[in-house]
Subunit: 364 residues, 3 copies
């Protein structure tokens, strides 16, 4: 049990400028979303338009035409860039204005800020710099499971009326499954609560493992895999500041070591890209990859469908939680219990990163 | 006519902390509402969860789990208390945490504030103390009419986007019936306006009586009782800070003294529990008890149904009124007329009670 | 091209009191709206009730009963005035209370502020004074086209979640037709952008003319007039602080001088009364008059219908634009292009009028 309490003040410093870890890749969306329409999204209080040009290149610009401030996401995508939907100014992926209809001269100030974006592993990553010139020193994180031939995945996105760290808390402790997700991946509340939880940290990565041999298969597991009365179940959670990779699953009882990374059985590989929108809201980009069972041809579709249902249950709880935090204001205080060890480590990592931000670098 | 004007400033002191009379019983709901689900409500800016345990005991706690702030009203009721819907902490009616799943030790700080609640006359009363230790010196008010064998009652609840005192104003002067409730209990605008209104005060209780012999029976009266062309009608309003008891009705013309408390005829006994939610909003808990007529078997159902309609008409007017007060802000001023005598007395009582609140005791 | 940039700060001075040009007639509505119900509207932050008495007289009062602040627009219109819907106080068009039901004496303070209103050319104009005593020195503007026997008109009204000057910007530069209104009066983006734009100013009136001979008729023109492949098209915009009169249309190619005010062909005469509601919102009262074609009996109905659709497209764009301006806050800056010459003149006129307002005369 972790006894060092995380001050609730770290959830939301009222009156303070919103602060987020900068010089960092965040998830902006999935590759599949960037079709022929521009997409407007706010990341870390910055309004961004995402689009894919006719040549297939992806781009991200400040979502505001420099002429009269219409969002560029209200415009149209062309071969060379995005065209404003009000008076037709055309912008290149670099942010440079390429054309002002009816006007020959393009003033030097005719440009908008551009953001570095990279498409990798079916995920669109955006670099959120400390200042406009700070270039990425690292590649975006790897997530090989979307292209693993053993798996097929589905993805989705939820908008949260809650700060991003409340989702970290939720995902770093799966004991809530026994209370929140009874209809899908939950049940076994006591087993979750009593299973030993192993928490380790390596730099800014936190790993939480819970093994539950002899567990009753929850509804989603039964719907996706021909389990009997019991299964040997694992939960491996890996927290990174921009996202979590969660590998859960189960095997026939006694059919192998449940902590062996080469284990067989039923796999659920969850990707969770959590990107702050504002200090009070965030984007939650998720995917779920699973493996086919020869006798259950639709099993992955079932897993994805029930995952969407499950994550929406979380959204309801977390938004209720945040509304209550906001309502109680200064009268909040949090009492830690044994399951909070992993989440509290993640909160300390984010706190340390925020402390490194010099005041003049505050985003927003 | 009351010429001493009540300053509009007493409606809402902008910028000032919300203040309400404390050390007082308020209506929290009706007994019939407390079934197998917890109910979350805010009283006097304090978020409360109400529930009835498996043993039938009713309880009220601060609506926030001390672990991670989820409202306890999102949880479930068990035999011994209410269980949080996120990680399963169980709380007794005393506010003491009885169980933290998977953790043996219950820290001493694992508890939430509890409120005194009493169930009496089918009404749930909650004690709103000046400080956590101030215990009630008195019993909750009596309201014997719910269990009077001559009557049957129905009840309802409205949430108001308006401060509670605007409802006092409304109920202490029934002359608005002639303009607002033409379809149910209204009509006779001139008769209402011209009937003498007798206002008396005894401590913090105000009584307003208006007698209207030879009145045309309004639609609800006709639908519920076989009146002829005229009736002798009475309106007796009793204001208490937490609620109003209003006894209206009518008799066959000349069939007795309409100011005799043992009078017969058609009775409408209204209970109006008005509990501030915030300084801008309130709860309105009402019941209407009426007597059966041998030839009109459904008459009480009709009365309750039309009462719900009538009180919703009031809500529309009062919410429009409050939006306008808010829009005009400092530019409001109120000119009193003859019908305001009772309402102004009630306002002075509340003003005096608020003046007694020491600054450090301000709620919220 | 206009190079003197209008500071974005003139769009919205955050924190500053709302300011509007006063001592001026604004559009309050259309004559056809004032039937048997009072209408509540806010002009320049002032809540007003408009009504027409039984004698046909129109009136405008402060929308607040001086008794208990219910909006008078929730009341009823009678032969002599408007009666409050709560306790029946009756007000004359002068603002004087004529009756307090049940009370003989009418106190001298029983009155509300009245506004001067004039009905002219099917338009209801309201005088918004610097102070209550400043009487109009001029008549409301003329708009003879509603009663021109060659035309028939339809009208409508949009509520905008955007400040009024963004609509001026929009209407003073019709080059946006090529991007926003492709389905109705748009198309020909390049032709619009390349056509010379003549901007002239006379006092507080700005005139913008764009002539486009040899233009492809846009969809609405084709639906309303039997044009061939091309037409000679004109756009004449006349800005006044309270409204714009826009005369657009087209003729058979070469059938006459398109800058001749006696020209024939297809006419669209648009009236655009734009009245601030608050600093962030406004009312847009529009009418469209057109001339009948002998072979197309329904042509004017088509024009009015497509105009309503077109103006709603503008509303979507302008509200998106304003939300973005608000979101970017101090980080907005506007880069002028060639089409902004007319709109910028109008902005300077309003700026000058606002600078004339002494601080103590600020509205609201």
């Amino acid at each position: 049990m972790n006894t060092a309490s995380i001050p609730v003040g770290s959830i939301r410093k009222s009156g303070a400028a919103a602060r987020f870890p900068l010089d960092r890749w965040y998830v902006a969306g999935f590759s599949s979303e960037l079709q022929d329409q521009p997409i407007g999204r706010t990341f870390l209080n910055q309004k961004v338009v995402l689009f894919r040009t006719g040549s297939g290149e992806i781009a991200a610009l400040e979502d505001r035409c420099c002429h009269r401030s219409l969002p560029l996401s209200c415009g149209t995508v062309e071969a060379d860039g995005v065209r404003c939907g009000y008076h037709g100014l055309l912008y290149a992926p670099s942010g440079q204005c390429l054309e002002i209809p009816g006007q020959e001269r393009i003033p030097s100030k005719a440009r908008v800020r551009s953001y570095r974006v990279v498409e990798k592993d079916r995920i669109v990553w955006i670099w959120m710099p400390r200042d406009e010139d700070s270039a990425p020193a690292v590649e975006p994180p790897d997530y090989p499971h979307h292209d693993d031939p053993r798996y097929k995945f589905g993805s989705g996105m939820y908008h949260y009326k809650a700060p991003w760290q409340l989702i970290h808390d939720n995902l770093l402790d799966l004991s809530h499954l026994g209370y929140v997700h009874l209809k899908t991946i939950g049940g076994n509340a006591r087993l979750h609560m009593n299973a030993p939880m192993k928490v380790t940290q390596d730099g800014d990565t936190v790993k939480v493992v819970r093994l539950m041999p002899g567990s009753t298969p929850p509804p989603t597991y039964r719907a996706a895999w021909p389990f009997g009365d019991t299964c040997d179940r694992w939960q491996e959670i890996e927290f990174h500041v921009s996202h979590l990779a969660i590998w859960t699953g189960a095997m026939e009882p006694g059919s192998g070591a449940i902590d062996d990374p080469r284990r067989g059985g039923f796999h659920m590989r969850g990707f969770h890209g959590i990107t702050p929108e504002t200090e009070d809201t965030c984007h939650y980009f998720w995917s779920m990859a699973s493996n086919k069972h020869p006798d259950m041809p639709e099993n992955i579709d079932t897993v994805v469908e029930q995952t969407a249902y499950t994550f929406d249950e979380d959204r309801v709880v977390i938004e209720d939680q945040y509304r209550n935090i906001a309502d109680f204001g200064d009268r909040n205080s949090w009492m830690d219990i044994h399951v909070d060890a992993g989440a509290n480590r993640a909160r300390r990592i984010v706190e340390r990163l925020l402390a490194d931000v010099r005041p003049e670098e505050v985003a927003g």
